[in-house]
Amino acid sequence: MAIIEIKNLHANVEGNEILKGIDLTVNAGETHAIMGPNGSGKSTLASVLAGREEYEITEGQILYNGKDLLEMDPDVRACEGIFLAFQYPVEIPGVNNSYFLRTAVNAIRKHHGEDEIDPGEFLSLREKMKLVHMDDRFLSRSINEGFSGGEKKRNEIFQMLVLDPTLAVLDETDSGLDIDALKIVAEGVNEFRRDPSKAAIVVTHYQRLLNYIVPDFVHVLVDGKIVQSGGKELALELESKGYGWIEREPASVSA
């Protein structure tokens, strides 16, 4: 079953077209990797999925679980199960992590007509931070304030595990991670993927991450278009040859 269907998506920012006709379908149980040169539009695609207002959709359609995603406000999308792990997680001084998470959990529960989470249940959810090897004391610190680059990324994955979305979009979650942290984060993502009703879109520059989070499909985004799609081998090929050869060869769409 398709979780998300992106059809001929065009998006502008400040009058410049960044996405120039994206087609992509992600089914339940699948993981899709998106690779591509700097500035090709990967984060833009992720932001458009999450509903950032700066991006103007000029053409195309996105269906999420069969519903028109573009009609939904960002918070509604999140409540409906879309999670974006930010390339640059945002700091919010004075708001502690634990309070923030509980507010998010309750907002999502409210959206589904459920009662607020009871403290005991929330405590057990918090245990998930062990999966990403985070210490308890991060819970009482302000959101991402003074976190190291790697800590911010782990915190994103921790939030994902607690909020338990349907579709996780991970934007360069591997950048800035050391080897051990990379494995830890990948384990977190794999834990999430184990459930066959979930799906993930993983944006990365490095094949290395895909050794740990093995994708079903790899897509190459160049200048706002998917120019090549393939299986996990495509990532290896990109690693050895770079993006130059794709831009020269005609696209062969196999996904």
């Binding site: 918070d75 999140a78 999670f83 945002v90 919010i92 004075g94 708001v95």
Partner: protein, 483 residues
């Protein structure tokens, strides 16, 4: 402009919850100000001669003064002859001796405001309340319990009768009647307020609070609070204020004086929520207040915490005179303005004694078309060697039609003292709001969370139950500034 900004710009449309008024018969003197009116007020309060003389001296001095114009706020000239200087709910018979005898309508008013005038435990602790309605105190709770410890907590008028020596000794000792235009006016016409004296070595066992309510339409409110902590005493004092919604501006010119003797500690917290005017800027309270504390004794400490969300115009600088060696002054402030509100607020820390210390933490939040100014003076005298000040002034802007301004003045007159000043201005981040949205949190809740986070260092200073109230207030004043 993005939708977020537009939403932010109209975030503040919830109604002022305290905007109703009480139908009660009152004894209000006709508008106008002259010596006759002052004699009349003094007479109604059966005041001693010396106090009438003091008022008259103040009035005569006031006539020679000009309204200050240096503050960064704008309003049409105030016609001081159009203000009524005294209004009190009509009493049937004798002045009530206890809360049980207070007019039920008044009790109801405070009940509706959420202020318990029945003596009972509230939330985290026990709070004794002095309730001031227009010009008079309508009752004080827990008086007997406090009296057992020798603590005096009563209305100002009562203190004049029962404890004239204390009043005479300290009245005007921190804010003299010549101090400034509005304080001088207050000295001439002040009607009531609260008085508190904590004797030597006594730690006040409960929070004390005054709750001010303006009810009458054209009255000014001029109350005066005098708080004295004797050697080694300590007290935490809360002050809250509301007024009905009216489309004319009303003047509130209060004076608060605090005296802390050797080793005494006073914590004074204010949650000011006077009617701010409507969305178009019509009506609202002019809140022109003089608040000052004197750390007269060594090792004494006075700490001001204020959360200012109300009033059309707020103009006040709770200050500390650090006279005693090693004394400490603190000022923690959140000032939130929305729609057409204007605030010019801050503090003065005057270091006179040796090794005196002061801390200033100010958080200004401006939304709508409001203007928010921090103005502060840190003055370290020649003999205040080894003194230190730390100031931090942060402003947050919501939307792009509001303004934030910071005027820190520094005067250091010796070489062994240190001052440190940090300031920042930020726009509430659209990335921060989007980040919250992306986790399922609606924009309005996101803004409230971000603003509360921004104010955390100040809220932390408030007594528990007040902190909760303050957060709720911020939410209400923010409402409508996001869609």
């Amino acid at each position: 402009m993005t939708t977020d900004t537009m939403m932010l710009e109209d975030l503040a449309r919830k109604e002022y919850k305290y905007g109703w008024s009480t139908e009660i018969e009152s004894d209000t003197v006709p508008p106008g100000l002259n010596e006759e009116v002052i004699r009349l007020i003094s007479d109604k309060k059966e005041e001693p001669r010396w106090l009438l003389e003091w008022r008259l001296k103040a009035y005569r001095h006031w006539l020679t003064m000009e309204e200050p114009k240096w503050q960064n706020v704008h309003y049409p000239p105030i016609d001081f002859q159009a203000v009524s200087y005294y209004s009190a709910p009509k009493q049937k018979g004798e002045r009530p001796k206890s809360m049980d005898e207070v007019d039920p309508k008044l009790l109801e008013t405070y009940e509706k405001l959420g202020i318990p005038l029945k003596e009972r435990e509230v939330l985290a602790g026990v709070v004794a309340v002095d309730a001031v309605f227009d010009s008079v105190s309508v009752g004080t709770t827990f008086k007997e319990t406090l009296a057992e410890k020798g603590i005096v907590f009563c209305s100002f008028s009562e203190a004049v009768k029962e404890h004239p020596d204390l009043v005479k000794k300290y009245l005007g000792s921190v804010v003299p009647y010549t101090d400034n235009f509005y304080a001088t006016l207050n000295s001439a016409v002040f009607s009531d307020g609260s008085f508190c004296y904590i004797p030597k070595g006594v730690k006040c066992p409960m929070e004390l609070s005054t709750y001010f309510r303006i009810n009458e339409a054209s009255t000014g409110q001029f109350e005066r609070t005098l708080l004295v902590a004797d050697e080694g005493a300590s007290v935490s004092y809360l002050e809250g204020c509301t007024a009905p919604m009216r489309d004319t501006n009303q003047l509130h010119a209060a004076v608060v004086e605090i005296v802390a003797l050797d080793n005494a500690q006073v914590k004074y917290s204010t949650v000011q929520n006077w009617f701010p005017g409507d969305e178009e800027g019509k009506g609202g309270i002019y809140n022109f207040v003089t608040k000052r504390g004197k750390c007269a004794g060594k090792n004494s400490k006075i700490s001001w915490t204020q959360v200012e969300t109300g009033s059309a115009i707020t103009w006040k600088y709770p200050s500390c005179i650090l006279l005693g060696d090693n004394s400490v002054g603190e000022f923690y402030s959140v000032a939130m303005t929305n729609n057409y509100q204007q605030a010019d607020t801050g503090t003065k820390m005057i270091h006179i004694g040796k090794n005196t210390k002061s801390t200033i933490v100010s958080k200004g939040i401006s939304a709508g078309k409001s203007q928010n100014t921090y103005r502060g003076l840190v003055k370290i005298g020649k003999n205040a060697t080894g003194s230190r000040n730390y100031s931090q002034c942060d402003s947050m802007l919501i939307g792009d039609k509001c303004g934030a301004h910071t005027f820190p003045y520094l005067e250091v007159n010796n070489t062994t003292s240190q001052v440190e000043h940090e300031a920042s201005t930020s726009k509430i981040g659209e990335d921060q709001i989007f980040y919250c949205n992306q986790r399922g949190i609606e924009t309005e809740d996101a803004v409230s969370m971000i603003v509360n986070g921004f104010c955390k260092e100040v809220f932390r200073e408030l007594p528990m139950e007040f902190a909760v109230e303050a957060q709720k207030l911020l939410d209400v004043s923010l409402e409508g500034s996001v869609g």
